[in-house]
């Protein structure tokens, strides 16, 4: 017989968890004690629980494993909510273990009590409150199973302190049977055949893919399929790296800040093959405007509720993206002839490409786009890039050409400022020795800046690319364009000296103010300071805006281009 606390640790060992991101407190002291007595599961002590969850989330995003966080009851849990909601919106498999007050105190407004199951319910795939130590192992097993199967997502397990002290036999279930939870994997063959038929008939096809391709590790299959079809491919913000961005069939990211060619191709396509994407508002713009063109839609997704949610779908295929693509490839290998008119479509696309919508104005100041371009060059296009939320995030997405999946790590769905640095931590722990850049802004980085301390403790050599415009740039951009330049609260005064700040945490700090210094600084950071965290404070042109832009409520083709300004 072993204690509940030991059971928790044994379960993590059984799940081959190598890192847990967490922060201790009263209700998890037994668990921390059990953690202390073993070596397999390593613990990363963050400086704020939000960062623990973000780091676990990125650990998962950049590997194929389930991220794990461990926090104490009450404030420990409430601090995780942003992180959980962020993971939930992007369907990231994660298990969050939370301490809870002892069973007998629940409901008594005990010290550090909160209704964890209630607070997290709307932003988890599922959650559990363990009420009997005999259920503990099976519940944790279920949590990992639910988090990582079907449409993945975060699962919270709330564990009262007394449960971690009680003892029982440890028996970790080999598998999970749940009558209420059996996600579909294989796509319907009849539907798949219909889809292939529709692809043959397409004159203006587009392959539109999202985070589902990354999550189901289907990038390779997608690339094979797209090459066979010779159709244009566009990725959502979450789908970047699902198809090599340097390939000629890639038309760029689509949506609010998508390329001219991607947005036009999406809008005017007669057949859309949507794969693991969900036609969200940042992608298709105004749905009425999008609906004006007649087209047919094939939609492959593991989650039936994503299909026909915002756009009516003609051929729904529910299943694991990778498995479905496999089936499609098999059918296509049996013979596939694309419509000859697709050649004209390519001509049209090349014409749109000719607009060169990512060209940007030059300036005596450092342009943020230029920094990302140089970052791409210096890292050989092979870095993991985490980002925050704002203009810098869009610049990173637009100008760093991701050829591989799981390299672009950002909060697409919730748009959470502050994720960049903790994301970098999770990525580095999952991929030791890799180049990890965090492209951030002076606003976002300050939302989890305390993690510089964690990075020092565990020697995590993240390269922070702070695109410092002294503004909440994305907010300022909207105010400039839609609020007659009334810059309400978008100016960040009293910024710290980031160089000194980095140094005070024991890191390397650099301030880069001239365009010609950009590349040397980056090179230095990635070579000389390879093993150090380097905080690069790039003082950029404060007026730089992100283009193309589809304003909220506008149609996908109603883009504002840099040349219009």
């Amino acid at each position: 017989m072993i204690s509940g606390a030991e059971i928790v640790i044994r379960c993590l060992q059984e799940e081959k968890v190598d890192y847990v991101f967490g922060y201790p407190g009263g209700s998890v002291l037994h668990i921390y004690d059990a953690l202390f007595k073993q070596e397999e599961v390593k613990h990363i002590l963050v400086r704020h629980e939000q960062a623990a969850v973000h780091a676990a989330d990125a650990y998962s995003r950049s590997s194929q494993k389930v991220g794990v966080a461990l926090v104490t009851s009450g404030p420990g849990v409430t601090n995780t909510v942003t992180g959980i909601a962020t993971a939930y919106m992007d369907s990231i498999p994660m298990v969050v273990l939370c301490g809870q007050v002892p069973t007998a105190y629940i409901g008594q407004d005990a010290f550090q009590e909160c209704d964890t199951v209630g607070i997290t319910r709307p932003c988890v795939k599922h959650n559990f409150l363990v009420k009997d130590v005999k259920d503990l192992a099976a519940t944790i097993k279920k949590a990992f199973h639910i988090a990582s199967t079907g449409r993945p997502g975060p699962v919270v397990v709330d564990i009262p302190k007394d449960i971690t002290a009680q003892v029982c036999d440890f028996d970790y279930p080999k598998s999970v049977q749940m009558r209420s939870y059996n996600p579909v994997v294989k796509g319907h063959l009849g539907q798949i055949k219909k889809a292939v038929q529709m692809l043959q008939e397409a004159k203006r096809p587009i392959i539109y893919t999202g985070g589902g391709v990354i999550l189901s590790d289907a990038a390779e299959r997608l690339t094979q399929l797209a090459r066979k079809l010779n159709f244009p491919v566009t990725n959502t913000l979450m789908g970047l790296g699902g198809y090599p961005a340097t390939d000629k069939q890639f038309v760029g990211m689509l949506g609010m800040h998508g390329t001219f060619e991607a947005n036009n191709a999406m809008h005017y396509a007669d057949v859309i093959l949507a794969i693991g994407a969900r036609f969200d508002d940042r992608v298709i713009g105004n749905p009425e405007h999008f609906g004006e063109e007649k087209r047919r839609v094939i939609h492959i997704d593991i989650d039936p509720s994503s299909i026909s949610k915002r756009v009516k779908v003609d051929v729904p295929i529910v299943g694991n993206v990778n498995d479905v693509l496999d089936e499609i490839l098999k059918l296509i290998d049996g013979g596939f002839t694309a419509d000859p008119e697709v050649a004209d479509w390519w001509k049209q696309i090349d014409e749109w490409r000719g607009r060169n919508s990512l060209a940007y104005r030059q300036s005596e100041h450092i342009m943020p786009q230029y920094v990302v371009e140089k970052l791409y060059e210096v890292t050989g296009g092979d870095a993991f890039v985490t980002s925050d939320v704002g203009q810098h995030q869009m610049f990173a997405a637009q100008y760093y050409k991701f050829d591989k999946p799981r390299r672009w790590i950002n909060s697409g769905g919730l748009g959470t400022m502050g994720v960049g640095l903790p994301y970098g931590m999770g990525v580095l722990l999952a991929n030791p020795g890799s180049q990890v850049a965090c492209v951030t802004g002076e606003g976002s980085i300050q939302m989890c800046i305390q993690e510089l301390s964690t990075c020092k403790q565990y020697e995590l050599p993240i390269k922070i690319i702070n695109l410092n415009n002294g503004m909440l740039g994305m907010v300022r951009q909207w105010q400039e364009m839609f609020y007659s330049k009334r810059y309400s609260q978008s100016y960040v005064t009293s910024l710290p000296d980031f160089v000194k700040l980095a140094e005070s945490y024991g890191h390397v700090g650099m301030r880069i103010e001239k365009p010609e210094d950009v590349e040397p600084a980056l090179r230095k950071a990635f070579t000389e300071y390879k093993d150090r965290l380097v905080f690069m404070d790039f003082i950029i042109d404060p007026g730089a805006n992100v283009f193309p832009m589809v304003a909220a409520g506008k149609g996908l083709t109603e883009m504002i281009l840099a040349e219009d300004i």
Partner: protein, 163 residues
């Protein structure tokens, strides 16, 4: 369109809040909701009366199915079914109204299940519209209190919702 959704759900603590939370978070209507364990005490049966277009209903069913505790979901109103609701209504029953109330209860096949010098409690079962008509048929000033269970329903014949 009016729809009756029947749900079989694990009889776990918090199951009801998952369903109710889903409806409020996604802005779906709940006209009425009833829930109780089935003959298998590990399962609860929930009946939700809701309104929405076909697209909304499709989403409601898909989203309910996505809840990990939900075993089965069916839109009863898609095919032949029967539905009932129970109402307890307390009315003033004095003077000439006392006789009138008794007569009305009889007409609607209600039963008087509690009697005091000045009040009756009438029990009435039927389709919701029948309960509505009963209320409409009474002098509003005489109604002291109404309690309705919300609709519950079941498929006809071989239409069975079971694991």
């Amino acid at each position: 369109m009016r729809h009756i959704i029947s749900i079989l759900i694990e009889n776990e603590a918090g199951a009801l809040s998952r369903v109710a939370g889903l409806f409020s978070a996604r802005g779906y209507n709940i006209e009425s909701l009833t829930v109780a364990p089935t003959e298998d005490p590990s399962l609860s049966r929930m009946t939700i009366l809701t309104w929405g277009s076909d697209e909304v209903l499709e989403q409601i069913t898909k989203q309910l199915n996505k809840l990990v505790d939900v075993v089965k979901v069916v839109d009863l109103s898609e095919a032949a079914h029967v539905e009932r609701e129970l109402m307890l209504i307390k009315v003033r029953a004095t003077g000439k109204d006392r006789e009138e109330m008794k007569r009305m209860a009889d007409i609607f096949r209600g039963r008087i299940i509690d009697v005091t010098e000045s009040t009756y409690v009438i029990e009435l079962t039927g389709a919701s519209s029948k309960l509505d008509s009963f209320i409409a048929a009474l002098d509003a000033g005489l109604i002291l209190e109404t309690v309705r269970t919300g609709v519950c329903g079941i498929g006809r014949g071989d239409r069975i919702l079971k694991v």
